[in-house]
């Protein structure tokens, strides 16, 4: 078994999850506490990847990323990055595709905190930013951990979007899920099985870890 697709999968999932974490925290905060109209529209847009077939997202991204489209052209001209059939393209697509998996749990975590925590911090003279970083985020650790892992696992399991915009260039865009598909098409079942088993085992271990950590964090919160 060639380990490259597996390594690529985990590289993609790690980079996506870390970037998305940074992007999602302010968006979640804004969704919960922001004062603006049209919240419904924003929420619906973020939730789209949950219901749309990955091939639809992949198709539109393929169009947008292509050098003949203004977006793809702009990125290529100013950043020197071609987004179709490339790793950076996969990262951007994965971020969009996993957006709800990161934002929704963090949003739920922020919503579940009593309003008095935020207000107490304000009356103690702390700014919104200080309150967010020192009070709100540390008290939704379980939600953030869940969000991170869901995003990671969701990116590991990505297939349709990758195939549409990445293809299967070994070492660049050929992730494990695509490799499994290729092996099955070539009737090479033992190889497909090897990739599948590794993905299965690793995702199971990750989820197991998360749930045990979360259970511990939640137990600690219970009053003595």
């Amino acid at each position: 078994m060639d380990p490259q697709p597996l390594l690529l999968t985990f590289k993609l999932a790690s980079i996506t999850s870390i970037l998305l974490l940074v992007i999602a925290m302010p968006i979640a905060y804004w969704l919960v506490f922001g004062k603006f109209k049209g919240r419904g529209v924003v929420e619906a847009l973020i939730g789209m990847p949950l219901v749309l077939p990955p091939s639809v997202i992949g198709f539109y991204l393929l169009l947008a990323f292509s050098p003949s489209h203004w977006f793809g052209a702009m990125v290529e001209e100013y950043l020197g990055i071609r987004l179709v059939f490339s790793f950076p393209g996969l990262v951007i697509a994965s971020i969009l595709y996993s957006l709800p998996f990161m934002i929704y749990p963090i949003r739920a975590g922020l919503q579940s905190l009593p309003a008095s925590l935020r207000e107490a911090s304000y009356t103690l003279g702390k700014s919104e930013w200080q309150t967010f970083v020192k009070v709100l985020l540390p008290n939704c650790k379980p939600a953030i951990l869940t969000a991170f892992v869901l995003t990671f696992a969701h990116t590991v399991g990505e297939f349709g979007v990758v195939l549409m915009i990445g293809g299967n260039i070994p070492g660049v865009t050929k992730v494990a899920s695509v490799a499994i598909y290729n092996e099955v098409e070539a009737l090479n079942y033992p190889a497909a099985n090897a990739y599948a088993m590794v993905l299965f085992a690793i995702t199971f271990v990750i989820l197991l870890l998360v749930y045990s950590i979360n259970n511990r964090l939640l137990r600690v919160r219970q009053p003595a």
């Binding site: 008095s116 207000e119 107490a120 911090s121 304000y122 009356t123 103690l124 009070v135 219970q222 003595a224």
Partner: protein, 273 residues
């Protein structure tokens, strides 16, 4: 809601009245946590709110202490960290040690809030609110969840802290004992309006030897031609009283009411909740 209220000097003002009268809302507006439709709030010479002139000083700049009903201690921080968080930059750390000592919390500084009893949590909340040395302390039913012994201890702590460094207190409470033990002034609110204000003795006792204000909720009703016998939930106890049927008071199980009894005169008012 329509309220005109002035607190002078370093007094303790108790805000009281039935649930839904607007006490907590008023307290939150003073803190800057809620916005009234229109109005003015000034502290000394500082305007905190003036809707006509578009002034709204955020809670951070009002220099207040606020003690929440649920204490609002930060679960991720120890007792010490909760207090340190409240300390403004470059302020003297010694104040924390001093306050901890008065509040009897020195042994507990490394505990997280969930490892404390209700009374201990409340002591931390009160201490934390005073770390910034506010000139105005706002408290929303701070002692309501504690047993009577603990209430006395905390009230005593509040008075001791004020002896160290005077500050004004506005306190929402339902507890008559608390009003008489702590308050210099009491203001009674009903349906978003201030209906009486004065010293507790003036408000509750003046000209009347047996004056009573009772806030309660109707549990059962028994009607005879002449009289209406009411069982009501009053101050955590079931009480029975009788009023003449011809008063025509629209009481039903679940109705919240005020009964004002001034010796000669009895009046029952029903409150919208």
């Amino acid at each position: 809601m329509e309220v005109d209220l002035t607190v002078t000097g370093h007094r303790i003002l108790a805000l009281t009245g039935p649930s839904g009268a607007g006490k907590t809302t008023l307290l939150r507006q003073i803190a800057g946590l809620a916005m009234p439709e229109s109005g003015r709030i000034t502290f000394g010479k500082d305007p905190w709110l003036d809707t006509a002139n578009g002034i709204h000083v955020p809670p951070q700049q009002r220099h207040i202490g606020f003690v929440f009903q649920d204490y609002a201690l930060f679960p991720n921080m120890t007792v010490m960290q909760n207090l340190e968080f409240a300390l403004p930059k470059y302020h003297n750390q010694e104040l924390i040690g001093h306050l901890l000592e008065i509040a009897g919390l020195t042994q507990l500084i490394d505990r997280k809030p969930h490892q404390l009893s209700g009374g201990q949590q409340q002591r931390v909340a009160l201490t934390r609110a005073l770390v910034r040395e506010p000139d105005l302390l706002l408290m929303d039913e701070p002692f309501a969840a504690l047993d009577p012994d603990m209430q006395l201890q905390l009230q005593d702590l509040l008075l001791r802290l004020r002896r160290e460094r005077p500050f004004t207190v506005i306190l929402v409470t339902h507890d008559m004992g608390e009003i008489f033990r702590l308050a210099d002034q009491v203001a009674i609110m009903e349906n978003g309006r201030l209906i009486r204000i004065g010293s507790p003795a003036e408000v509750y006792l003046k000209d009347q030897t047996e004056a009573l204000f009772i806030y309660g909720e109707v549990l059962t009703l028994e009607r005879t031609t002449e009289m209406l016998t009411v069982h009501a939930w009053v101050d955590g106890k079931i009480r029975q009283f009788t009023v003449p049927t011809h008063w025509g008071v629209q009481l039903q199980p679940g109705t919240k009411f005020t009964l004002h009894y001034s010796g000669a005169d009895v009046e029952v008012r029903i409150l919208k909740t």
